[in-house]
């Protein structure tokens, strides 16, 4: 776990987003810059003012893609770091930008992520790995194993799981940047193509293309860069953890979000906030079961009860635990390197009361949780 305690207060000064979906005519740097430039504009800062940049992405599109993208804005010579941390690559880039500022090294940092995820089931291991013969490397099959076990242990119904996907589409229909824009019904979700039972297609996130960016600044440097203090959002906690002993001694993760709980407990401790203080949450809903287990691991809902909370509408925008308000991975889409920063983007909009038709009333505290292979888990808490 993190050994250091925060030093300087860090703020999110600006955010930017490229829509999520499929963009065959655009290369990765183009996608990335169409998020970066709006983020700089949102913060009201110039590219030449940025002192360090972290770029989250996973799939190979050539070497040093962060440099390749930002070079088009001008070669300023700042350190640019490419970050690969699976589905948490973007949130890891954001975490690094935070720590670069809070420790006093930098005043103004850029975190951005972009991805063009290939179609088809997502795998973790290399193509020549033994896993291809064994048949165990299949991300959604892993979620399906968790889902069947969860349903047995908690009594969750298939319709409750499907409701997670329906809610995601409802939120995404209010979001012009989302990959999936059509709403659907519980029946549509359950009758969609079976991927790895009991997980149907519409209970799995799409593989997407897209980009997201955030500009971070030290609170004590806000006026130096003429940044509007009223629109800056405070980072109350930034926690990253990777795989620990999973209690089973297995050669795969325990297929539970077992790193979320320790990361969340540290984030609550650092921020001085409690689960009941959280007004809205973005969690890693790569599959419907993911949202339920993450909400429970974050201590926002007691273990085994998130499916019922979903049925009762508590996780809707109008509920008491608004979850994945922009559509989440399930409907907003999942371009790996962008996803973690997309969550920050949505949280910032909500806390600024700029989320339009999907605005959560009186949102003051937002939590973003992102998980990836290697059991990389980030938890960020933002406050207004």
């Amino acid at each position: 776990m993190t050994q250091f305690r925060p030093g300087r207060q860090v703020m999110v000064a600006g955010v930017g987003l490229h829509p999520f979906g499929r963009f065959p005519g655009k290369d990765l740097p183009t996608l990335a810059l169409e998020a970066v430039v709006p983020a700089l504009g949102d913060a009201g800062v110039q590219w030449r003012d940025i002192q360090v940049a972290y770029f989250g992405h996973v799939y190979y599109n050539g070497m040093s893609m962060g440099e390749g993208a930002l070079g088009r804005l001008g070669l300023t010579g700042i350190p640019i770091i490419n970050v690969e941390n699976a589905c948490s690559s973007g949130s890891t880039a954001f975490w690094q930008a935070y720590w670069g500022i809070t420790t006093g090294i930098f005043d103004l940092a850029l975190a951005f992520g972009a991805e063009k995820v290939p179609r088809g089931p997502v795998t973790v291991t290399a193509e020549d790995s033994p896993e291809r013969y064994i048949g165990a490397d299949h991300m959604m099959a892993g979620y399906a194993l968790r889902m069947r076990r969860y349903m047995m242990e908690t009594g969750a119904s298939e319709t409750a799981l499907a409701q997670v996907a329906v809610k995601a589409r409802q939120n995404a229909s209010l979001n012009p940047y989302s990959h999936r824009k059509e709403t659907n019904s519980v029946e549509d979700v359950l009758q969609s193509r079976m991927i790895a039972d009991p997980l149907t297609l519409f209970q799995c996130c799409p593989t997407s293309e897209g980009a997201a960016a955030a500009v971070l600044v030290a609170e004590d440097a806000l006026s130096r860069y003429s940044i509007d203090k009223a629109r800056a959002i405070r980072i109350a906690a930034a926690v990253l953890t990777s795989g620990g002993y999973n209690g089973k001694g297995s050669d795969h993760s325990a297929f539970s979000p077992y790193r979320t709980e320790p990361a969340a407990l540290e984030a609550y401790e650092v921020s001085g906030l409690k689960p009941e203080d959280v007004d809205l949450v973005q969690v890693h809903d790569a599959a419907t079961i993911g949202e339920l287990q993450q909400l429970e691991a974050l201590h926002l809902i007691p273990f085994g009860e998130a499916w019922r909370a979903t049925e009762d509408g508590r996780t809707a925008i109008t509920g008491d635990i608004p979850t994945n308000t922009d559509g989440g991975l399930l409907a907003m889409g999942h371009p790996f390197g962008a996803t973690g920063i997309r969550m920050i983007h949505e949280t910032v909009l909500q806390l600024r009361q700029e989320a339009g038709p999907r605005q959560v009333k009186n949102a003051r505290v937002g939590l973003a949780e992102c998980s990836g292979a290697g059991d990389v888990t980030t938890v960020h808490i933002l406050t207004r």
């Binding site: 194993l145 001694g249 325990a254």
Partner: protein, 145 residues
């Protein structure tokens, strides 16, 4: 002769390559049992690991029927992917064979079985560990010598 799919996880024990054992380690300092390769203990980081061979049976912890497989999967579609808990503790993911979908039940006992798997394209054939329902006669010889 075909090789084990992963010699750190499966040791073949007869000349015909039809029998084998799953491999792992026990930590001599904290007693944690680990399936598969390890140089240091996952839990306490000790290097004092003792190689161990696991028993041939386990319990079905969870399962899924994979209908859209990952690229490179050389087996049948759909296939059953089983998450099996060994009596020694670790869980091992592998295909479950010789079982109808309707007969699947969490908690059912399963046993190790080996199959010769021809890789996609010109990839080499490997002996791969699988699970099958325990105490059930084998329908066919699994591996041609």
């Amino acid at each position: 002769m075909p090789e084990s799919v992963d010699t750190r996880r499966l040791k073949l024990t007869n000349e015909e390559r039809t029998e084998g054992v799953l491999l792992g380690f026990r930590c001599l300092e904290c007693d944690t049992v680990i399936f598969g390769p390890g140089t240091f203990c996952q839990r306490c980081t000790s290097a004092k690991l003792e190689p161990m061979e696991f028993s041939q049976t386990g319990i079905l912890y969870s399962y899924t029927v994979v209908r859209i497989p990952s690229a490179g999967w050389p087996g049948p579609v759909p296939y059953i992917l089983a998450q099996v808990e060994l009596s020694e503790g670790p869980q091992v993911l592998a295909e479950l064979v010789d079982c109808l979908e309707d007969a699947l039940e969490i908690g059912m006992p399963v046993e190790l079985t080996l199959q010769l798997v021809q890789g996609e394209d010109s990839s080499a054939a490997k002996v791969v560990y699988k699970w099958r329902p325990a105490n059930q006669p084998s329908p066919t010889a699994e591996v041609d010598p």
